[in-house]
């Protein structure tokens, strides 16, 4: 690793001023960034740790909306939303392994937008609002392709607001070595329609499967998905773990499973 300074502000304002310095970078739980730094794939001069900012931690449930502080670790989310939003608890409780879940944060995951990460699918499927120090961004506008988001330089995710669905499920087909999803489907059913977000599959990062959403909004059943053709595998990730066509097949198979399991 190259050397750098680590600063630990205790407020969002202090963090913003630290991040305004040249080559400063935010550090969430570090479970992705620290391995990246070890490979010398990033070269910040200052890391601004967000782990000391108490106002960015914790979970609250209010009027059908769950608000998760940007610096809240996965393990805390898994415990806090177990009753209010079991599918989200299941997602958070199966990221990485227990030690990783105690450090990694929702804000870090969404800011990184790894194409195989779990959280982006929950944010997109619930139509979450990504709240930053400067503005509120709708999930539909936030994800802009693999490792690309609407965040500006130095902008911090302070919290994420997720509307609680009537029914939901997260089905992760796990790549056993990395424990990332080979394909993951987050299905969320609301009074005004169904949203289906797919992670792990596309070269463009997390996306909504529009045909399945339309079919399921009209008829929430496994048969409704059965009647669809799987999305095209042409623009899906092809690597040694699975071809694009295999991932496309999984998108449909796992969506059916999600409908069957949604609760």
């Amino acid at each position: 690793m190259y050397n750098f300074d680590v600063v630990r502000p205790t407020s969002v304002d202090e963090a913003l001023s630290a991040l305004s310095q040249e080559d400063a970078q935010a550090l969430g739980g570090g479970q992705t960034l620290i391995p990246t730094l070890k490979q010398r794939l990033a070269m910040p001069t200052t890391l601004v740790s967000l782990s000391g900012i108490d106002s960015m931690k914790g979970v609250s449930v209010d009027g059908g909306v769950i608000t998760v502080g940007g610096a809240t670790p996965h393990a805390v989310v898994a415990g806090e939303v177990a009753d209010a939003f079991p599918a989200l608890a299941h997602l958070a409780g199966n990221i990485g392994d227990p030690a990783v879940r105690n450090r990694g944060t929702i804000g870090g995951s969404l800011a990184n937008n790894d194409p195989s990460a779990c959280y982006p699918s929950a944010a997109l499927a619930t139509g979450a609002t990504i709240v930053t120090n400067a503005r509120e961004i709708a999930a539909d506008d936030y994800f802009q392709g693999m490792f690309t988001t609407a965040l500006d330089e130095g902008e911090i995710i302070t919290s994420v607001k997720l509307p609680v669905p009537e029914k939901a499920a997260y089905i992760k087909f796990e790549q056993p070595a990395s424990r990332f999803s080979l394909v993951g489907i987050f299905l969320a059913k609301y009074a005004d329609g169904v949203r289906v977000a797919v992670t792990g599959a596309s070269n463009n990062g997390v996306f909504r499967w529009a045909e399945a959403e339309a079919a399921l909004s009209a008829d929430f059943s496994v048969a409704a998905v059965e009647g669809l053709s799987a999305p095209s595998g042409d623009d899906m990730i092809s690597d040694l773990h699975g071809s694009g066509d295999y991932r496309a097949h999984l998108v449909k198979a796992l969506t059916k499973k999600a409908v069957a399991q949604a609760s």
């Binding site: 690793m1 190259y2 050397n3 750098f4 391995p35 070890k38 740790s49 030690a99 990783v100």
Partner: protein
């Protein structure tokens, strides 16, 4: 360099660290607590698992500066006050839960974290919780057995010796 202070196994310690000093380096090289192992240095193996404010974490994937003010427990802090092995450590010995022992510090710390959260886990829950701890020797059966035994459950029916 910046100064960090923390509590390690109940003792207040401090030291000067560079920004990129990993917590595991501070523990092993500055404090000479070499019980915490580095198997992979890439967050995969869990040999470096310690507790930070009572929660398990991989000390190779955390900076010493991030632990400033924290309460840290390493495997050196697991024995009973009189120096005898803790219940978990004794169970690893009794059930042959280790061979070369390289993964054992991490296994013991992860087991302790599990039993704190879930005092009577099922075999499946133990195996799931050990996902981030890799052992190249034992095949895991006796590790699982040791952890089940440490939780006070009858293990006579579990897997092979």
């Amino acid at each position: 360099m910046s100064k960090v202070s923390m509590t390690v196994n109940g003792k207040a310690v401090s030291g000067d660290v560079k920004g990129n000093t990993l917590l595991v380096e501070f523990l092993r090289e500055d404090l000479r607590l070499t019980g915490t192992h580095v198997g992979c240095d890439t967050s995969q193996c869990g040999a470096c698992t310690i507790h930070v404010n009572g929660k398990s974490a991989k000390a190779c994937t955390m900076f010493a500066a991030e632990a400033d003010g924290a309460d840290i427990t390493t495997v050196e802090g697991m024995a009973n006050a009189d120096g005898s092995l803790s219940v978990i450590q004794q169970a690893f010995q009794d059930h042959h839960g280790l061979q070369c022992g390289f993964c054992t510090p991490g296994m013991v710390m992860t087991a302790a974290a599990l039993l704190k959260e879930n005092p009577k886990p099922t075999e499946a829950e133990v195996r799931h919780y050990l996902e981030g701890n890799i052992c190249r020797c034992t095949g895991y059966h006796n590790i699982v057995k040791a952890i089940m035994a440490a939780s006070g459950q009858d293990v006579s029916a579990i897997a092979a010796e």
